[in-house]
């Protein structure tokens, strides 16, 4: 008997496991002030997965440019950007440890001084003319991704008047199904601002905070060139389908 949802390719495209909401921030987190007016008051309505949630967009390598995962060079005009040269790499897996292949990983960040190249960022720290601050890549057959960049600086923001974000890189992941869509942020091991950040404090547990901290990976430093950080990501997994649920009313 074969899995009714296995396709011609032999892969299982069954339902995703339920999202464990206890692993994520709640919508309403008043310490992060903007969430107060931007959080639903009603409970989310849980639905069964359909094809709409089990499938998702497919991206091709030829849609990306050769420097898209090199933030040191992909906006360099007349020289190199200023700041700490770092390589960030890791694996994207699902909850059951399987690699998530061909996932679109998109990253964006501030420059070494904490300034974003965005028309709405008015922080006094200067723009770096040779640094854009975004990159993207597809995971390989093992779920592996790698990019290099300049380590971003912390920056102030109007939450409480003296709040500062720790150094961080934003991540967007588009996996193998719409239900896996995830946006998050990566922090750097040892940063003392992590313990004070209202956005990090929206998270429900220390363990989940640790899951967002990239670890120094000195074995993969490139001598006299770049330091290295390791950051793995877990997306929702697909449940194995041995038995279909009974239709309502059936025995």
């Amino acid at each position: 008997m074969s899995d009714p949802r296995a396709t011609a390719s032999g892969r299982d495209y069954g339902d995703f496991t339920q999202r464990d909401t206890a692993l994520h921030p709640a919508a309403y987190t008043p310490g992060y002030k903007t969430s107060v007016l931007r959080s639903p008051r009603n409970a989310l309505i849980s639905t069964l997965n359909t094809l709409s949630e089990r499938t998702g967009p497919v991206f091709r390598a030829d849609e990306l440019g050769p420097l898209d995962n090199d933030l040191i060079l992909n906006f360099a005009k007349e020289g190199l950007p200023i700041g700490e040269r770092v390589v960030v790499h890791g694996f994207v897996r699902d909850e059951f440890g399987r690699p998530v292949r061909n996932a679109l990983v998109e990253v964006w960040q501030a420059n070494a001084g904490g300034r974003y190249r965005h028309r709405n960022d008015k922080y006094i720290a200067p723009i770096d003319p040779n640094f854009g601050g975004c990159g993207r890549m597809l995971t390989d057959e093992n779920g592996y991704y790698v990019y290099r960049t300049i380590k971003p600086g912390p920056y102030p923001w109007r939450n409480r008047i003296n709040d500062w974000r720790p150094s961080h890189i934003h991540y967007s992941l588009s996996g193998d199904g719409w239900a896996q869509r995830l946006i998050t942020q990566m922090y750097f091991e040892g940063d003392p601002l992590i313990a004070q950040c209202p956005i990090i404090k929206t998270m429900p547990s220390e363990e989940q905070v640790r899951g967002l901290i990239a670890l120094q990976d000195p074995g993969n430093n490139i001598a006299l060139d770049s330091r290295c950080y390791r950051f793995d990501i877990t997306l929702r997994g697909r449940r194995m389908t041995y038995f279909e649920p009974a239709k309502q009313g059936d025995k």
């Binding site: 499938t55 960040q109 719409w178």
Partner: protein, 221 residues
């Protein structure tokens, strides 16, 4: 029957790793996901809000919307993505291998930032066909949406249905699965014709608003 494949990182049984925690996309989400809107040109090929090409089959439509916070103020920094089936109701993904025509010139996915002034987001797409639901039911034509923004800690999932599909909507398993009938209409976009083009408009409310606007239904999918 296929045997379960155990994770290579444990030989003792299946593991269950915790899903990576979500964090807000923040106010500068455009830098990574829509750099031209952030104000600079970096990639040769940008992902955008136009899902159709000249070859794409189906009825051309525009989807337009605005997002409001709990004070009734426009959320001008929101980023919206959509995912939908083609005109025949098939998704461009290997998990949809039904005997329904594919459309090589339709990916079914797009992203758009709201305009920083007007707060309007827009997609140029086609009206999707019907797709099967759970347990053999048939779903009404719909578009899946997800919203990311400053202040939103985890992406908000919702759906857009079409007001000229009233019969199909009445039997849609997801819509009718919303116990509170009054809330179902928050997902139904209004059809209009503007300069000869079909536009479906939907306002999304993150919370009930002072003008009486009802909070949009959001899903845990």
């Amino acid at each position: 029957m296929n045997r379960p494949t155990f994770s290579p990182i444990s030989s003792f049984g299946p593991v269950r790793l915790p899903e990576t925690a979500s964090q807000t996309g923040g106010p500068y989400v455009h830098i990574g996901l829509a750099p031209e809107q952030a104000g600079f040109d970096i990639f040769e090929n940008n992902f955008g809000n136009v899902l159709v090409g000249t070859e794409t089959r189906g009825e051309r439509i525009a989807i337009e919307g605005r997002v409001f916070d709990g004070s009734g103020t426009l959320v001008r920094d929101v980023l919206v993505e959509i995912w939908q089936a083609n005109a025949d109701g098939r998704y461009a993904h290997p998990g949809d291998d039904r005997d329904v025509p594919t459309d090589p010139s339709f990916r079914g996915w797009g992203r758009a930032g709201a305009d920083f002034e007007t707060g309007v987001f827009r997609f140029d797409t086609i009206k999707p066909g019907r797709v099967p639901g759970a347990n053999g039911a048939s779903q009404a034509p719909h578009v899946c949406l997800v919203l990311f923004a400053r202040g939103i800690n985890i992406g908000l999932h919702t759906r857009l249905y079409f007001d000229d599909e009233a019969d199909a909507n009445r039997s849609d398993p997801v819509l009718t699965g919303i116990e509170w009938e009054v809330r179902r209409r928050t997902l139904v976009a209004e059809r209009s014709v503007r300069n000869g083009a079909v536009v479906y408009s939907l306002d999304i409310r993150l919370q009930d608003t002072p003008d009486g606007g009802r909070e949009t239904v959001f899903f845990d999918i």
